[in-house]
């Protein structure tokens, strides 16, 4: 069953005005730059995050080039420091944190809820502008010499000794944080107050539960980063020792405050990925997600427990051993709800008739790679192991399995899944499958060797290494090349599809959800008439019936 349109799925017939949609409703640059329409804002974000993704990717590629040889012969160590710092900052603050929420969430969430827009459309636009301002600071830093502290800005190097643009970078990150906060706020209010009639909490798509949990984390964690960066900037400017031991401060306090945000931040990055996965699993198995309530509550549990574990980043930094034991135990706990989600998705696949379209390929990749990443996180959470592999490539591999094997794959799954809804066009399936294969092979070739090389002692953030690690590093760089190809291809065929792709109907996948009850692309107000929801989540027969009845009425 690989047809991309379902002939027997009744859908609301596009009315005579359906040719007018949010894309052609108004023309001109200002109609985009001053839009309040969440769908257009999502596209503005999509363009910006994609640009930043490739900028961050270039830094990664330069690093991998250096690491082809054991000697530090391509860049000086100072330059290399800037490369990994900028790679981290760009990827985390300007790609991973905004991507799925601000692109897919912004576009799809209101439609999924049956709303006309988010609760605060102007605030939504302001979020994008704040993101652009923060991003501009980032670009200025890159152009004028970069920053070399690591994305973690550990003190006192960042405050006292670094000769690079620490202040500008932290200011850029500080500003970008507000973009995140305002988006989270918008999502929370929209989910609470703008659901369509009949859309009770337990009828919500699991995407919404995960985005809700993400938004809670954003609201509670990001402000702590903001104040930490303020103190960093104060120290940098005034040279007072807030975090400098020479002047009475405690650098570990900085690490505590930084990671209080940055650990939940990784859940800000993965929960939206999980949101997409739930939707795609349901759509391509055409089944209800197994254990809906477990998955829903797991999202909330991840959000909650994710706040209790931050000091596992400080195990060897000088915190008390008693505190370390507490955090280690809590770290073990946080894996449980993630595991519950993986079990439930897998159980949904059991005896399902799976349709192997591109989104589903990325989903499979996610489930496997996220599991590996998550399990290696448990290894790192065990104090004894962490002493040996902390700050090694083992850690680097762990978080890339989750962020790249997890989040980025989920982002690609979501982009492909909702592409027909967003653009009204289908992407070319075989090219997309090829890309997915390149991404999967390239990813594993890049990052699996890093587990091995880290385990036997190669430290992270070093531009030179012991010669016995070279083979694995060369494999890793080779993988990075394949991965790059896998990321560049979609740019080409997705762009192609905008003009030449097959036109998509309202529900090409035959999936359940309010977004599939309106035309592709949707009209500016999302629905010609606000729907009333009478079906349970992922209840395909009931959804079909409701669609038929609306059509007949």
């Amino acid at each position: 069953m690989t047809s991309t349109t379902i002939d027997d799925a009744p859908f609301i017939e596009p009315s005579a005005t359906a040719k007018r949609n949010y894309l052609n409703d108004e023309y001109g640059v200002l109609s985009w730059l001053l839009t309040r329409d969440h769908k257009r804002i999502a596209i503005l974000y999509a363009i910006s995050v994609t640009i930043f993704f490739f900028v961050g990717g270039i830094f990664a590629f330069l690093m991998r080039l250096e690491l082809l040889t054991p000697e530090g012969d391509l860049f000086t160590s100072d330059t290399y420091n800037k490369l990994f710092t900028l790679h981290g900052i760009v990827m985390i603050f300007f790609f991973l944190i905004p991507a799925i929420p601000a692109v897919i969430g912004n576009f799809i969430l209101p439609i999924m809820l049956g709303a006309k827009d988010l609760a605060f459309p102007k605030l939504n636009l302001m979020s994008w502008y704040i993101y652009i301002i923060g991003g501009t600071f980032g670009v200025i830093v890159i152009i004028t010499g970069g920053v070399d502290t690591g994305w973690t800005f550990y003190t006192p190097f960042s405050t006292q000794y670094s000769n690079t643009h620490v202040f500008l970078t932290t200011l850029g990150a500080f500003i970008t944080g507000f973009s995140s906060i305002l988006t989270g706020l918008n999502f929370l209010v929209t989910i609470h107050r703008m659901r369509a009639p009949g859309l009770t909490w337990f009828r919500l798509p699991l995407f919404v539960w995960s985005i809700y949990a993400t938004s809670v984390v954003i609201m509670l964690a990001t402000p702590v980063l903001a104040i930490t960066l303020v103190l960093l900037m104060v120290e940098r400017v005034l040279h007072v020792g807030i975090f400098d031991p020479a002047l009475g401060g405690d650098p570990v306090l900085y690490q505590h405050m930084f990671w209080f945000y940055s650990h939940p931040a990784v859940y800000i990055m993965i929960l939206p990925g999980m949101a997409v996965i739930s939707e795609c699993v349901a759509a391509f198995t055409r089944k209800k997600i197994f254990g809906y309530k477990f998955v829903a509550f797991s999202s909330l549990a991840i959000a909650f427990l994710g706040f209790l574990v931050w000091a596992h980043h400080l195990f060897i930094a000088g915190i008390s051993i008693y505190s370390a034991m507490i955090f280690s135990f809590l770290t073990m706990l946080v894996a449980v709800p993630s595991a519950i989600k993986v079990f439930n998705w897998t159980a949904t696949l059991y005896k399902a008739s799976v349709s192997w379209q591109t989104p589903m390929l990325y989903v499979l990749g996610f489930i496997g790679l996220f599991t590996i990443g998550g399990v290696t996180g448990l290894f790192l959470g065990a104090l004894g192991i962490d002493v040996h592999v902390h700050d090694s490539y083992f850690v680097v591999a762990h978080f890339h399995y989750i962020m790249v094997g997890g989040t980025i794959m989920a982002y690609l799954a979501g982009i492909h899944y909702w592409w027909p809804k967003i653009t009204g066009r289908m992407y070319p399936e075989w090219w997309a499958r090829l890309s997915a294969l390149l991404v999967f092979v390239g990813f594993n070739l890049t990052f699996f060797p890093q587990f091995l090389v880290g385990y036997v002692g190669m430290p992270r953030r070093y531009h030179a290494y012991a010669p016995e690690f070279q083979v694995l590093n060369v494999l890793s760089t080779a993988g990075a090349t394949i991965l790059a190809a896998g990321y560049i291809l979609p740019m080409i065929y997705l762009g192609w599809s905008l003009k030449f792709g097959r036109k998509a109907g309202p529900n090409p996948w035959g999936a359940v959800g309010l977004e599939w009850a309106t035309s592709s692309p949707p009209p500016k107000e999302n629905f010609h008439e606000t729907p009333t929801v009478t079906w349970e989540a992922y209840d395909y027969p009931a959804f079909l019936k409701a669609m038929r009845e609306t059509q007949d009425a």
Partner: protein, 110 residues
């Protein structure tokens, strides 16, 4: 995380509002003044290591008065209570787990 009243709970075309009696605002104001004077007095009395908890307790009571009455939380829907309590709870998590490190460091060993 408790679940919000859903769409069905929002009432009517107009915002449902409970207008508190005017005198209530002045009563809270005078209570806050009283609390402020009390804080200053208490800080000048030597209570040993109880000075800080007393000052904090008075501040918490004052804040509670502002939250419940000036910010109308006492008449607000359950979701508002959830937000207020959760924020302070999260702050509590920050403090407790942070101090679990600082209070158990054995400084003299090194």
């Amino acid at each position: 995380m408790a679940h919000a009243p859903d769409h069905a709970d929002h009432v009517g075309h107009s915002p449902a509002h409970h207008q508190a009696p005017l005198g209530m605002y002045f009563a809270v104001f005078f209570a806050l003044m009283g609390g402020t004077i009390l804080t200053v007095i208490a800080s000048h009395v030597n209570l040993g290591h109880w000075n800080t908890p007393v000052a904090l307790a008075i501040a918490i009571i004052k804040a509670t008065l502002v939250i419940l009455w000036f910010m109308h939380v006492i008449h607000s829907p359950r979701m508002t209570w959830v937000i207020v309590i959760s924020s302070f709870l999260w702050l509590g998590v920050l403090f407790v787990l942070m101090f679990s490190d600082y209070l158990t460091r054995i400084w003299n060993i090194y």
